[in-house]
Point group: D2
Chain length 288, copies 4
């Protein structure tokens, strides 16, 4: 059992009263991810609402802010209790056997135009064993092909752009991997967390985007950008791509600054300090 303690501080200047915010910075809660404690501090005395999506368990913090400075400080301690499995025992699920609620993750989305990549994906991955190792092959293909470069993409950059230009940040790696998975009928979704274990050379601790692929009736974790340690990913939100899973969606005239994030492993309930590490087996934190 890994116990992670983290805090997120977001600072905004609300230039006009009545700006709506939808945050996805609360740790999701499910059988594998337990919130031991959490605290939310808002610098404005605002009514706010926490909506939990019944299917994904993503929690959305919603509020309407007044003009002036707004600071959102969220901190939590979370236990991660991964389901693990041996890669060779994890097969794909045929389309006919997929649960209905998983089907949307087969279809193309704003940033993951899987429909355009079918030929390429079949040529590269169509002949491989239909299981975890095929998804690893897709992850490796993306990781080998794309160069990680800060500020090399923007909010309009799609999987197709990343395939063509071969450069991006973690969200771009995730989008391309998701599009390729869907192109060979593997459900895949976008997940957000913190880049636990990333090299300080990449800058301060930041939000992270990674991939969950649906295999053997669970969602398994993959990190196509390869910059962080998947075992340390606690999930905030999931969605079909970054359009669904921004850490903050803002409606109104607001200026923001870079988030300040801290995360560390701490001793768990048994007093043991278990550090996330790279492992050869498969990890899952969601069986829905």
């Amino acid at each position: 059992m890994i116990r992670l303690k983290f805090s997120i501080e977001l600072r905004y200047s609300v230039l006009q009263s009545g700006a709506d915010f939808i945050f996805s910075i609360h740790a999701a809660q499910n059988a594998q991810q337990t919130v031991v404690d959490e605290a939310l501090v808002l610098s404005q005395p605002l009514l706010h609402n926490l909506y939990t999506d019944p299917e994904t368990h993503t929690r959305y913090l919603r509020l309407k802010a007044d003009a002036g400075p707004l600071t959102v400080l969220y901190s939590a301690t979370v236990d991660l209790n991964h389901v693990t499995a041996q890669p060779e025992q994890i097969a794909e699920v045929g389309v006919a056997a997929l649960p209905g609620h998983v089907l949307p993750y087969l279809y193309p989305s704003r940033y993951c135009q899987s429909d355009r990549l079918v030929r390429l994906a079949i040529k590269e991955f169509g002949h491989l064993w239909q299981g975890y190792s095929r998804v690893q092959a897709i992850r490796d293909w993306v990781q080998n092909r794309i160069t990680f470069q800060p500020n090399s993409s923007n909010g309009n950059t799609t999987a197709v752009d990343t395939l063509v230009e071969e450069v991006g940040v973690c969200r771009d790696f995730a989008h391309l991997m998701i599009a390729l998975c869907r192109a060979v009928n593997i459900p895949a979704r976008f997940a957000t967390g913190i880049d636990y274990g990333a090299s300080p050379s990449l800058g301060p601790t930041d939000f992270h985007a990674y991939v969950e692929a649906y295999l053997n009736n669970r969602w398994y974790l993959f990190d196509p950008s390869g910059v962080a340690i998947p075992m340390g990913f606690l999930r905030f939100g999931t969605g079909r791509d970054a359009a669904d899973a921004a850490f903050a969606t803002i409606f109104g005239n607001v200026q923001g600054s870079a988030p300040v994030i801290q995360i560390e492993a701490v001793p768990n309930a048994q007093g043991q300090l278990v550090l996330p590490q790279h492992v050869a087996y498969a990890l899952s934190t969601d069986g829905l």
Copy 2:
């Protein structure tokens, strides 16, 4: 109460056994749309499964077909019991008050890149009263600007393409209208039905794509292509755009031919024949 009777015949050549099909040709069932009777006939003796999405009530028929010809014949009689309202009494719902399950319809999707149209949408529609008439203005803008032309678009055509090239078919009109609604924070979704009332000059009766916008806590119907009669739209599926709501999604080596569709109004339970007609008031068949 309008009673519609329709049939859909789909013919395929399955070139390799094991092709998966996901159909969305069953009439959705909810308080406003009641299935009086329905029948499904498959030309192959196949196990099949009907999955109903708990949120949208869309029903998905799923089956795995053998090689050879496959005919799917679905027929049903459906009662439509529209909720109606006066346009001037239908206001938009502020972002903060939107139900959580409606939020995904605010975000950009595969074919509706609302994020790219924010400036345009605010300039054109930002100053209008925030209610039904604003959505009508968007519908009219799309209808006036885009020319309906069969075969003028393909499966890769997006709302941005349609905006630029100013030509399309019903799905393109729907995508552009949806993108513009979302760009001014009005939740909008893609709906599929039959083009009841379309002029025979457009060809035989066909599937139709239209728009539902979320206003005053209901989904209201709009037909941006203007070719059919909204009161005659019985809904099969809904989704964020055509990527979600195809009438048939096929995985495998399959050839298809054009669907053969018939629809007519028939006497209702009270023995009255109520014909769908163009009306000035607002129509809704879904309050979720």
Copy 3:
């Protein structure tokens, strides 16, 4: 010396008088390509004008047609006197040494967005010897990666689309090859001719698009689609891409049908019948 005899018949319905046509169906004339005889027959008694581009020697037939049927019949006998060279003796020309009039063929164009493919091209081809064999490697890469499929693209399809979707016709192969050449600083241009030697399984004899790359101060021929015999390519037009080098550019309300084209090798001035064939050495028909 190869002698080719060909005819091109183009049929149009001009729906409104005053339609302008710009044709590029006259064989270019230069030191390597000599027109022995040629004839042009127009079914309407029209003034027409033949403009020869001083740099490329492309000849443009320009006319303004009356309403009604218009048939353009052009036939010619042309001698091809290829400059040949051994691939290993053909080096690239450094940017600093390129003649000024060649520079435009280094830059991106409508259908060849070489600027977006720089990373990919350097990774794939940056390490190769800078000469003919590098261009062959680019040609082979394109040929292996893209599937030839009639009607798989349209007038909006670019090199980037072809790279992503991996399917196209001869013009798409040419665009992608051109874009990749330019991305590693090799001037490349689009050329049009007839698909001499193409398999009848691809349909009747047709116009063809291929590539000329500037190496060792000449333009060398390449056929990335691989469907025809380069030695049989007599050139009509060249340009930066298909936007410049259409066989017919039409301004007005006109309907057309498929061109009817015939080409054959005939005995040359010495009475010898030399048939174009696939060869291992390099071919050039232009030294400008």
Copy 4:
């Protein structure tokens, strides 16, 4: 006669020897634009070459630089002797009457996909008198629709993107205006100069991009961004779009900083100081 005196200072760090540069910072020379004096100072003792395009008179400075700092300082005094005309006397030239060398400016190019905007352009401008005032209408349409915002676009931004997103800098305004002109068969090209007369609020004096449209057998000046004074535009380069007419095209590993540019009107040969100003009549500096 306006006399302008200007200087351009460009500073680079060449990280690897052998970097090729192609500059277009020399004032073009023709009947309307006379170079009174000019000077070029390079901080490295390099061989360099000045290539003048025979058709456009654009002068290209080409050099290969050594590793280390490189400063290019060009200064000149130039007389502008505009051809002027009354807008109502300037008609378009029909396609059939266009000189052959003007035809390329009718076709779509990398950043100006005029082929995609034909419907829109005909609907907006197809009914107008075919002359200077139609081009003004296109310029005004672009100027009214697009918002000038520094750093809102990048090297991949096209006319279609600008149409959709409605924001850009001078090159984006120019690309959209050019694409719309070509879409109604008016030849249009991209021209580069200095933003004479631009408000200091837009930042220091900078390079500028504007449009020349071919009307009545001359190229007339238009400034769709509206930020500067067309009478003060002395031309460096022209081309089909920014792909052809960058002030510097660099091949190699080089870092650059912002150019430092100064321009002012000075007394002419008659000792008169004539200041460029906004005028209601048409201006041309090129009759080719």
